[in-house]
Amino acid sequence: MAFESFSFLVLAVAAVALLRLCSNERQRGIVLCVASAIFVASFASRPMELLPLGVFMAAGYGAVLAGSRLGRRSLVVLLGAVIAAFVWLKQYAIIADLPHLGFAYTVVGLSYLLFRILHLIIAAAQGAIQVPGVLSYFNYALSPFTLVAGPVQRYQDFSEQMARPPVAATQEQLLGGLGRVTRGYFYLLVLSEFTRLKAGELKIAFYTDYAWSAWLGAGVHLGAAALVYFVFLYLNFSGYMHVMVGFGRLAGFTLPENFDEPYKAANFLEFWSRWHITVSEWLRTYLFNPLLKALVARWGKRVSSELLAVITFFFTFFVMGMWHGTSIQFLVCGLMLAIGATVNKLWQTEAVRRLGRRRYRALRAKPWYVNWARAATLAYMALVLVCVWFGPELSASGSEVVPTPQILSLFGLMCSVVAFLALLLGLWAAGPIVQGLAGAVSPWLGRLSLRAGLGAGDSQSNAAIAWTAAKVFAVATLAVVLNWSPEVVYKGF
């Protein structure tokens, strides 16, 4: 059952209605468990395909139980074993000759499952949580609201919300939740698919232009494709998040947000505190902080703390890139993320050293500096994402494969440099224009919202209900008429 399918909509609506009718934690647990089981089972065409996931889940629960009784060293070995099992099941292509089970099996949501299980093992070992019961464990790990592509919720938040006594549901919650869901589907079914098609066209244009004689054009095409794909990924992933957060809210849960206007980030490190927030926080809690602490304890007297922080950033971002996928492309992606984080941290350190904290803070407050830094961040991230989409492409007619150029060459690097410079200049120039437009349009949108009955304090009006129904109708109509078949990209990560 694809998340973006009509079947999922039916499942989610039914789950929300039933969860709202439940009067205690046990009932809610059972409803969520059934919904999760249906959702997970839908990814397999025969039961055998679910077996590895089931074994991983069971082993994960065993590890949570065992972890709470083990010493520090044994715990590290246990975590290593869980990660090794994950790498094996995902069949990381960069590790040669990994033995294969010999049959197809589903790995949907496995990357997110890994983070949840590791979180449970560590939190239970640290005594931060009690070892969950089997039903709670199953629901936390495989909830249909978070399985496919996150968010990575803390178990404490999940169990606290499950245990919360039912409260009267308000119309504001209803309209707010439905608003998020319709917005998410609009992003996913319309905007993200449109940008995906455009990115595909630009990608083919880049491939076609790929020749020594056309390096400038190829570079510009690469930059354009990279930017449009970046926009697509944001719309696609944030659309998914809107739907999930919306359904969660309708069901009475508060799921953590994964985005906080990442296009406003003033530097690379800030970008990652606004993009895929829950994974960033997980990595900060369970990788960056312990690693930095360990490095300081071991080398702190001989090496400066700034350098140790840089090393830790490099490693953390490299792992983040690698976590996203199994192929060599994600190795490159991890390296590029690591380089981006390292350069950013070194720049900050050096700027503070040369200018002093006060002058550096003043510099960071200047609009021209913010605009340049933002353009550089977004341009670099767009290029990092080239690793994700670069590969063979079907032609527009779908009848042939457009060949993939060799980007790992001198010419490929030249194209990338041209693409980066084009993006940097383009985004730098566009920044003030977009800000100006946003400033002009916002009040108008606010007035429109108020008129439509969406203003604060007016959410219970008939106009607000009609407006929500109209939005659902409009999105459903667009979905039928456009008949596009989008996919949640992060599902594959």
Binding site: V13, A169, T208, L250, S399, A470
Partner: protein, 403 residues
């Protein structure tokens, strides 16, 4: 009544109201959309089942079905089941120009567009041989099909080309937006008159006019007949260079998984007593030259050293011929046909036109084993038709409404 009971009652009522409003707000707008869409679908005759379309076309050779190409598969499978022909053609769109007139006096139906992967071909073979299996099944066997990602890539594509369809499949079919199509169909659905055929189904605006004729062959849109290549051979139908027209496969060797799938397909045919004839129809000569030479050669004179070409050489080798022979597959490799040097004979680099398919049929029938299977075909008549087509410069409409 104490306070807690009152509070609980209020909560229950609120919850019921919440759930009721939620379901209403979601399902009422969606129900309205579904009803409207159903009216549109009905008005466009899309509720006509593939079996019904097959029956209509069976009874009237002048009818050509025109509509979204993604429905071709289900319509052709329905027709193959209805006709139970002696010779069934199944496979990719490359086979689309085989006409029944080329195989007279045998009963034939062209089921191109029914499958791209060996797995799908096996399924189609199952479906069409339930009642009375064909004696011969002709399918395309291109070297591309042994690429390592072929199955995965085309299996995803096949999901959009259902073997059977109903209203739900139609709503889920992945067609891009075409406002012109929607508007015209709503205002003027149904039949259109052509030169030789009466078109039924959807109008030409749906898919550029690609239609299915009575014998299952494809009739391309009229513009293709008037196409004039601008700059010689490499420019086969708007492709700018040789590099663009070389059919490329993924991987360095013929994928063992694909070979296994081909074996499964061959065994399925053998079990039913069906003789398999595989054809690799022509690619543009300039492209085949690149594959044969396997040297660096791109639009500026250099093509990357070809992993693809290694696979090509393996496919063309005596070893592969022996393997196909062992599987009981007669193989006609038509990629070196001299007529393929004429760019005008192609619809695009992967799709030979009717003239080139006729030339391929003649060449194929020169193979003694294939000729022994189909001895009654009048080869001289086919050669005469080919000569006439060459004389007229007619590459796409040789047999017209002769079936």
């Amino acid at each position: 009544m104490d306070d807690s009971t009152t509070a609980a009652t209020v909560t229950c009522a609120d919850t019921r109201r919440f759930v009721g409003s939620f379901l209403l707000l979601v399902w009422l707008p969606i129900a309205v959309v579904v009803v409207l869409a159903s009216i549109v679908v009905w008005r466009m005759s899309l509720t006509t089942s593939p079996a019904e379309i097959a029956r209509k076309q069976h009874g009237n050779p002048a009818l050509a079905w025109i509509g979204p190409a993604k429905l071709f598969t289900s319509i052709k499978v329905a027709r193959l089941r209805l006709e139970t022909p002696e010779i069934a053609i199944i496979g990719a769109s490359r086979l689309g120009e085989f006409r029944s007139a080329m195989f007279k006096p045998y009963g034939i139906y062209n089921g191109s567009f029914t499958g791209w992967t060996f797995s799908r071909l096996t399924t189609v073979l199952d479906m069409i041989s339930a009642a009375r299996p064909p004696k011969v099944v002709l399918f395309n066997l291109d070297y591309l099909m042994f690429g390592s990602d072929w199955e995965q890539r085309w299996a995803a594509n096949e999901a959009d080309w259902p073997l059977e369809y109903n209203c739900r499949t139609l709503i889920c079919a992945r067609n891009g937006p075409d406002w012109n199509w929607w508007a015209r169909e709503l205002l003027d659905p149904g039949r259109k008159s052509g030169d030789e055929f009466t078109f039924f189904g959807l109008t030409a605006s749906a898919q550029g006019g690609l239609s299915i004729l009575h014998d299952g062959s494809l009739r391309y849109f009229p513009e293709i007949f008037d196409y004039k290549p601008e700059s010689g051979l490499p420019d086969v139908r708007n492709k700018r260079s040789v590099f663009d027209i070389v059919p490329k496969a993924t991987g360095t060797r013929m994928d063992p998984g694909q070979i296994e799938r081909l074996k499964v397909f061959a065994q399925a045919a053998q079990r039913r007593g069906i003789r398999l004839v595989a054809v690799q129809l022509p690619f543009p000569k300039a492209a085949v030259d690149v594959l044969d030479r396997g040297v660096d050669f791109d639009e500026n004179g250099k093509l990357r050293p070809g992993a693809d070409m290694q696979m090509w050489r393996e496919f063309e080798s005596a070893g592969t011929r022996a393997m196909l022979n062992d599987l009981g597959i007669l193989f006609a490799d038509l990629t070196h046909l001299p007529e393929a040097a004429n760019a005008k004979a192609f619809v695009d680099p992967l799709h030979p036109g009717e003239y080139l398919t006729l030339a391929s049929t003649i060449e194929m029938l020169k193979d003694p084993q294939i000729r022994a299977l189909l001895p009654e075909i009048d080869l001289a008549a086919l050669e005469e038709a080919k000569r006439q087509a060459e004389k007229d410069g007619n590459y796409f409409d040789i047999f017209k409404d002769r079936f």
